[in-house]
Amino acid sequence: MNTQSNTIRDSAMPAAPAAPAVISPWQSFYWSVRRELWENRSVYLAPLGVAAVFLVGFAISSFRLPAKMRGLTGLDPMHYHDAIAQPYDIAAGLMMLIGIVVSIFYCADTLYGERRDRSILFWKSLPVSDLTVVLSKASIPFVILPLLVSAIALAMQFIMLLMSSIALLGSGVSISGLWNQLPLFQMALLMLYHVATAHALWPAPIYSWLILVSGWARRAVILWAVLPIVAIAGLEAIAFRTWHFAALVGRRFIGDAHSVAVSPGEMFPTNPMVHPTPFHFLLTPGLWGGLLLAVIFLGLAVRLRRYRAPI
C-alpha cells in the first residue's frame, strides 16, 4: 500500500506513445448497431421464436398434406395456387406482423431505457456522437428488422417446402405441383420489397416519432406517443365530424399495400402475380412528406439526447 507521493513518482510508468488508431464513423455506427442487438435480443429472438412455433405446427399439419393435395386436383389454377400458397403467405404475414410489433416496442424503449438504467452516462463517456447513436437505433426498424424478417420468412418457407416434399414423397404424391406454385426466390424478393417499402419507408414517421418520444418522456412513453394523435383525431372529429387524421395514421401504421404494388384482387404481397410499382411508390407525395417528417423527428431526437440525463 504505497500511496506516498514520492512512491507515485518512482512507480509511475510513462504512457506508451501509441499512435491512436482511427475509428471511422462507419465503424462507430457498426458497433453501435451491434450494441443495440446485444441489448435487444428480442429483435431476432421474437421472430425466430414465432417462426419455430409456426414450423412445429406446420410439421404436424403436413401429415394431412397428401390427402389435401389429392383433393385439390381439378381446381382452377387460381384457386389451386391459393390453396397451396396459403400457409406460405401466413408464414410471411406472421413475420411482417412480428416485425411491426418488435419495431414499436423497440422504438418506444430505446432512448428511454438508457436513461432509466443510467447507462446513458456510460455511452456518453465514449467518443460516439448523438447522431451516430440515434441513427444506429433508427436502423433497427428501418434496416435490420426488414432484412431479418424477410430472411427468416424465406428460411421458413424453404423448410416448409422441404417438409411438404418429404410428406408427399412418403405417400407417393407428385411434388412438382408444389414446387411449381412456389417460386421461393421470387417470393422472397417480393417480401423484401414489400417490407422495405410498406413496412419501413412508409411508416418511417411513426417509428421516428416513437424514438423521439422515447428520448423525451420521463415515463409512460407509449402514452405520450399516442396522446397527441388521439387529441388531434378527437379535435378533428368534434370540429369537423371527420376522421381523416386517424385514418392517415392508421394507414401509416399497417403499411399501405396499394401504394407499393398492383395486384389483381386481394392478393398477398408475396404472391408472384403481384406487380411491384416502385416508381409509382417513389412518386407518392405522401412518401416524401412522411420521410421529411421522419428526418425532422430523428433530428430532434439527436438534439434532445444531448440534453438528456438519467431519470
Binding site: 509511475a12 504512457a15 506508451a16 438504467d117 452516462l121 456518453k124 456522437s129
Partner: protein
C-alpha cells in the same frame, strides 16, 4: 496549456443555482480533489466539464468547448460517474468489444491484463457482478484508455475499504504518469490525502478554497493544546478550534512550526479537518467531511 479552464461558470436548474460563477484552472498532470458537501455543485461542475449539461460562462477542456464537442472530447477524456452506469445487460466481453470498437485510444490487451488480476469472468453479465467488481471492471476499461483527463465522481462510493485502497493504488501505479490529469470528488477525503497534488473546496456553487498539497503541508499545522497553554496559543490566531477529549485542537495557517512546537506535537491536519475549518464555519454541512 491548462487542462481545464473555467471563468464565470454558471448553472441553474430552474430556480436552484448549482454553480454561481466558478473560476478554476487545472494544469495538466495534476491530481485534483474537488471537495464539498452534498449539493455544493461538485457533480454539476464535473457534468459541465464533461459536456453533459449546457452552462453559462466560459469553459475550455483540453482547448475544446465540452458542450459543443462532447463526442470529440471523449477521445481524450474518460470518466466514471458517481453511480454504477455500466449497462446491466451487457457481458464483460461485450463491454470490451464495444469500447475497443468505438474508442481509438483503447488498448484492449491492457484492459484484459487488469481484468486478469480480478476474479471477473469474461462471460459474466454485469448484472451478476458485485458492486466492487463492477467498479473494478469500469476502472479496467478506463485505465486502458490513453486519455489526457480522467474524471472520477465518487468512484468508490459504496465500496469497502479494501476495494477503495485497491482502486487508488491501481490508479496511481498503473495509470497516473504525470502527463495525465485526474479530477476526483469523494466524501472519503482522508484516503486521498497522499494521492492528491491539488485541493479545491467547493461550497454553495462557489470555489471557496484552493491550494496545492505542497502548500497545504507547509501552510497548515495542527496542535493539540493543554488548557493551561490555551491563551498563549490563541495569541497566534488559530483559524479553527475544536475540542477533543477535553483538550483543544487548534489549526493554524502560515504559523511557524517552531513557535507551535511549544504547545505540543505539531502535525499536518487532515483534509477533512481543514475542510471543516475553512468551510464548516460558514455552512451547516460539517458532516460532509
Amino acid at each position: 496549456m491548462a487542462c481545464i479552464e473555467a471563468r464565470g461558470l454558471k448553472k441553474a436548474f430552474g430556480t436552484t443555482i448549482a454553480l454561481e460563477g466558478v473560476d478554476l484552472r487545472v494544469e495538466e498532470g495534476r491530481i485534483l480533489g474537488l471537495i464539498g458537501p452534498n449539493g455544493a455543485g461538485k457533480t454539476t461542475a464535473l457534468n459541465a466539464i464533461l459536456g453533459l449539461i449546457p452552462y453559462e460562462g466560459q469553459l475550455k477542456v483540453l482547448g475544446r468547448d465540452p458542450w459543443q464537442e462532447r463526442d470529440r472530447l471523449m477521445r481524450d477524456v474518460s470518466f466514471i460517474a458517481d453511480v454504477a452506469v455500466l449497462p446491466r445487460w451487457m457481458r464483460v466481453s461485450q463491454a470490451l468489444d464495444y469500447v475497443a470498437g468505438v474508442h481509438p485510444r483503447f488498448d484492449r490487451a491492457k484492459a484484459e491484463g487488469f481484468l486478469a488480476r480480478t476474479t471477473i469472468k469474461h462471460s459474466s453479465k454485469i448484472a451478476e457482478l458485485s458492486k466492487g467488481m463492477v467498479t473494478q471492471l469500469h476502472l479496467a476499461l478506463v485505465m486502458a484508455i490513453d486519455a489526457r483527463l480522467l474524471v472520477l465522481d465518487e468512484p468508490t462510493l459504496g465500496l469497502d475499504i479494501l476495494f477503495r485502497k485497491q482502486f487508488y493504488d491501481s490508479l496511481l501505479n498503473d495509470y497516473y504518469d504525470r502527463s495525465r490529469t485526474i479530477v476526483v470528488t469523494t466524501h472519503q477525503i482522508d484516503e486521498l490525502q497522499d494521492v492528491l497534488t491539488d485541493l479545491m473546496f467547493i461550497d454553495r456553487g462557489r470555489i471557496v478554497f484552493t491550494c496545492s498539497m505542497e502548500d497545504f503541508e507547509s501552510r497548515y499545522a495542527e496542535v493539540t493544546v493543554n488548557p493551561d497553554r490555551l491563551a498563549a496559543a490563541h495569541a497566534l490566531k488559530p483559524i479553527h478550534e475544536r475540542q477533543m477529549l477535553g483538550r483543544s485542537v487548534l489549526i493554524f495557517d502560515r504559523t511557524s512550526r517552531q513557535d507551535l512546537a511549544a504547545f505540543g506535537e505539531v502535525r499536518t491536519p487532515t483534509i477533512a479537518d481543514l475542510f471543516v475549518a475553512v468551510v464548516g464555519g460558514t455552512t451547516q454541512a460539517k458532516g460532509a467531511a
